[in-house]
Symmetry: C2
Amino acid sequence: MKFSSKIEKCGLSPIRKFHPCMVAAEAKGRKVHHLNIGQPDIETPEAFFDAVQNFGETVLAYAPSPGVGTYVEAVRDYYTCLGFPITCDDILATYGGSEALQIVLPCILDDGDEILVPEPYYPNYETFVNITGAVIRPIETSPEEGYRYASRERIESLINERTRAILVTNPGNPTGVVLRPEEMRILADIAREHGLFLISDEVYRELVYGGQKPGSMLEFEDAAENVVVVDSVSKRFSATGSRVGVLISRNRELMAQAMKICQGRLCAATLDQVGAAALYRTMTPEYYVNLRAEYQRRRDAVVEGLSKIPGVRFNSPEGAFYLMVTLPVDDAEKLQYFLLEEFEDHGETVMYAPGEGFYATPGKGRNEIRIAYVTNPEDLTRSIELLGLGIQAYNAKNQ
Amino acid sequence: MKFSSKIEKCGLSPIRKFHPCMVAAEAKGRKVHHLNIGQPDIETPEAFFDAVQNFGETVLAYAPSPGVGTYVEAVRDYYTCLGFPITCDDILATYGGSEALQIVLPCILDDGDEILVPEPYYPNYETFVNITGAVIRPIETSPEEGYRYASRERIESLINERTRAILVTNPGNPTGVVLRPEEMRILADIAREHGLFLISDEVYRELVYGGQKPGSMLEFEDAAENVVVVDSVSKRFSATGSRVGVLISRNRELMAQAMKICQGRLCAATLDQVGAAALYRTMTPEYYVNLRAEYQRRRDAVVEGLSKIPGVRFNSPEGAFYLMVTLPVDDAEKLQYFLLEEFEDHGETVMYAPGEGFYATPGKGRNEIRIAYVTNPEDLTRSIELLGLGIQAYNAKNQ
């Protein structure tokens, strides 16, 4: 039987591609260190579990389609405190940041439409866009330029009559790039001038290491009709399994369209929204300060380790908990197979996410990898050491 | 800015259309009885809340994309006990039955494709199909035939080169029709012979009142490649807010395609799956017997009440907790406005879901309504009494 042309264009997650090899390596008794996945080891604040335990209702009923009232209000207050005053009508509760994208993209993209996304990008964006029948038109970047993309000429040269939106992740996954105020301004201007939606995935907002204030595209009042923000409690509160996010926009017509899908799927999970509301309500400014400090320690451990490996090139990431690294090898996927199938040091080896899966442009990213620094600094130091030893062994074998 | 042609074709939920009028009626001090929504008042079994409270992990991490192992195994065992042996590989955990449809439909439907759905149908099917760019081709039924649709001639006459699937709800929402074994066989045969997917939404499976064994399209081994089952804990365990369902198919290629979307959105909520696993594990056969008996009492209360209203026509529903009723009025929407804006009996009035929103064919269902019998028998008896009094007052006014 036939499948849709849209699903045929989608692929399985490149980040999970090496899972079978990892299972085989572990079966041989190897300890595999993980630089490949974005699952932090930081404890979920107890406020979440407490709120869930104190739920108190005897019927676990549907939530309202736009979201549980206390959760939506908590999100509104969080943004207001950041200096971005929004109303509850600007917010729709979703199953994580993922569903926010799964809702907004079909509202604006038709078959053959184009959406601009700086590459390398989060690979699941491709699935969400392909399902609509539209295509990602990549905004190219380079490791040499530190993966920065917010130049007017570069972006405007890609806009045509089928362009509907620009989608950015800020702070960036997989690059760790944090947009500067003037870069954000350029993006907002381009969106406004060309009548495009500017979808800003800001799930890593609080994770910035340059002392700057956490930002949002909601800042630009003059682009209020264009800006759509995607957010989530997953990374901010180390609660990835709760699947609670939001879609935010002041564009009333867009929100009315999005509501059709929200009503169609009835609601996001009630109990998780109750827990998420408590997270926003009970977390103090110190919580965010400590969270940032912890990830900065992790970043510093990775950066220190990488700087000891000959031939490796990278920029110290400014935000999120990822970075792209250019390796002195021919092919990062081949190296990954080697690391899992042949290499070991004291019974240990390491995994990362090969870079090619983060690019739309064929051939790009072949000698790049994405590292997620979500474990403790000691483990990260050892993981990077293993990477260095593995590169050495791989290149020695292939000479 | 432009929205997609697909979202423009979608509408807001017809079931929620009268919400503002209800708010206004309540503001005037009216008590509004609800026959319009499918939110049962039955308590969620404590096993769900107990499992959630005993979760025990300190990090609420991503679940595996195909689902939490204990939940998937519990679903497998539930089906095996019903006589439908499936494996864990045939199961993908979803955010309720809704997401199972949001996953399978884009896997098989392209722009311009057609999917056959007996009308009247659950209105959200239209949103899920429209978003893919495909269209619902209704299999027509009539109140006179008790809304039965599983005739070979009727269905085959609608199949053309763009037909990809048949989607049925069994037991039926909004009709309460339960397919007979020979009707299920006909559907499976048609799907197999014409190379169509047969998507069977079986979330009301356990709610059958004719003493028959709860059925499933999984019964037909010879149509294993065609059959897709959608299921959920929402109605079975009165846990609509948990948003935990499954997509089931033995079609390996379909499941591989569906996995792309599952990986794209990462996972369904971890804690809710843990709770759902406990529901399946701890519910005894007596639980289902009692649940059925409770809804049967509710059905009987509605049927008894309706049979006292002159001019009303309906079939006693065989399953689920809905029925369609033909009213002796010109327009059920006008009656609904009258009931909320003008009518009252001892300060009380009643809401239902007008029938038109359940039909694709224009003009059909105008004098029909859907009733959901999800509250206690006493309340239902009073609700139906109010409906009768309201019809009388409405027709007296309009004579």
